[in-house]
Amino acid sequence: MRRRVRRLQGFAFTAPALVLMTVFLVAPMLFTIRLSLDTGRGFQLREFIGLDNFVRLLTRDRLFLDLSDFPPSGAVFNNLLWIFLYVGLCVGLGLLIAVLADRVRYESIVKSIVFLPQAISATAVGVIWLLIYAPNARVGLLNAGLGAVGVDPVSWIGSRDTVNYAIIVAAVWAGTGLAVVVFSAAIKSIPTDIIEAARVDGAGPFQTFRHITLPLISLPVSVITITLIIGVIKVFDIVYIMSRGGPNGASRVIAYSFFEETFQAGKVGYGAAVAVLMVLLIVPIVALNIRRFRAGETVR
């Protein structure tokens, strides 16, 4: 009797959460998968078209994936650029700042300054950097700086060649703080006598970093790297604010394509296919992460 009550209690405590998650996560995902095999016009199931949406996305949509030129372009390629540059810079700068700040007395102030943008929404980050990039050299700091050395103003957001880099730099400014804080905590957990021993043996700061610090914090580094990569696949807000995916779709990313196709173009089935592709991209990365994490644990 008592045991039965306990069982019911277990369900009672978890039921509200499970119902909400089923209604807003599980069922919608199944419906989106079904929608991705349909035209979805008018936000409803209209006509089953099999994998047509996926085939068109990957082969005939130049704004999604265009391999005909070099360098390739399209949302998928832009996301790849984000992975290399944004993730690379966040992790690289994160390590650099964590290591350097560790050696000064005002470390906590520096870390706070770099971490502060984590509190700010991507919307505000976008405006902060639009001001830096303003084409008018009397408004935008970057063009003013270029003007001082005799270079004409550049329309950073208005040009296909620079727009992606400009947005990525803004995102790196906002995202590095996370890496700094995590790496800094990891560095502080390294016993000082190990570092001391290396120094006594004549290792310079670079050797110490390369052969002692880096191997000892490789787990947090890989966790942050994978976390940032997953974040890149979902990135939307800052692109929407800074460029609306433009000019002419040059700065679209996958999550932006989803929004554009579904809510601007009304191609709901096509947009659903983009959403399904996002899931298909994230799952293997997470699986890899779990595997690595497990491996790391068994080694320890």
Binding site: A17, F115, V139, I224, I241
Partner: protein, 291 residues
Amino acid sequence: MVRLGGAVRSSLAQRLVALTGRGVLHVVVIGIALVWLIPSLGLAVTSLRPPGDIAASGWWTVLGQPRFTLDNYAEVLSSQGLAQNFLNSLFITVPSTILPLSIGALAAFGFAWLRFPGRDWIFLGVLAMMIIPIQVSLVPSLLLFRTLGLTGSYVGIWLAHTAFGLPFAIFLLRNFFVQLPRDLIEAAQMDGASSLGIFRRIIVPLSVPAIASLAVFQFLWVWNDLLMALIFVQQPSQQPLTVAMSTLLSTYGQEFNLLSAASFILMVVPLIVFFSLQRYFVRGITAGAVK
């Protein structure tokens, strides 16, 4: 003494070398801090300058002709209606923080301390849900809200934020709850305390730091959200600050007097949270990075 003098001289040379090294270190570290400060500083200064000055000279020349005004703030808050959007952001964010926290804490307690069939499998399913991108849920949820007639109210976005906050909330809290001392909970059970009583009088009071970190994380997540608000809140009079900001951008693309003031209004609550709850904030954000 003489020998000592020699020792001092050689160590002086060493110290000079070390000092130069430290000089470079300080220059680099302070340089990095400046690079991270300048963008926000530019926005802050711009938001306080008269529109004429903003167009005529860069914000970095402000010390040459220091003229400041709060007119930009007055204009976005009243004529652009951002005061209302600020309230809307609060109306959306507060329930969207309280709901997932309380529902999530109850569920986390169930997963941590109550036995029921399939518990561990269901928990695994909850973990798997953490990786679902919101994009797969937006259209079906929107259709559901339309069917239920919820598109004109905040109930829809509250529920959606709650559902999306839950997997992470349950994950974090459950991991915290299972570490609480078993003896304490078993003793309370012996004394005939109900599960709800144990949850309220033992689990929650002992978990304040974890709950606070999660609250800060969820609050900022919802306050800063653009995508869900863009889709679930379609009445302009009900939209939060992030959506108002994006509308302002498409209307006044280069009018930085308005844009900068509006951005600061959007940033002020997160900044207050950052400075007042920094400890919980850092914990919440770093733990939430997996989301």
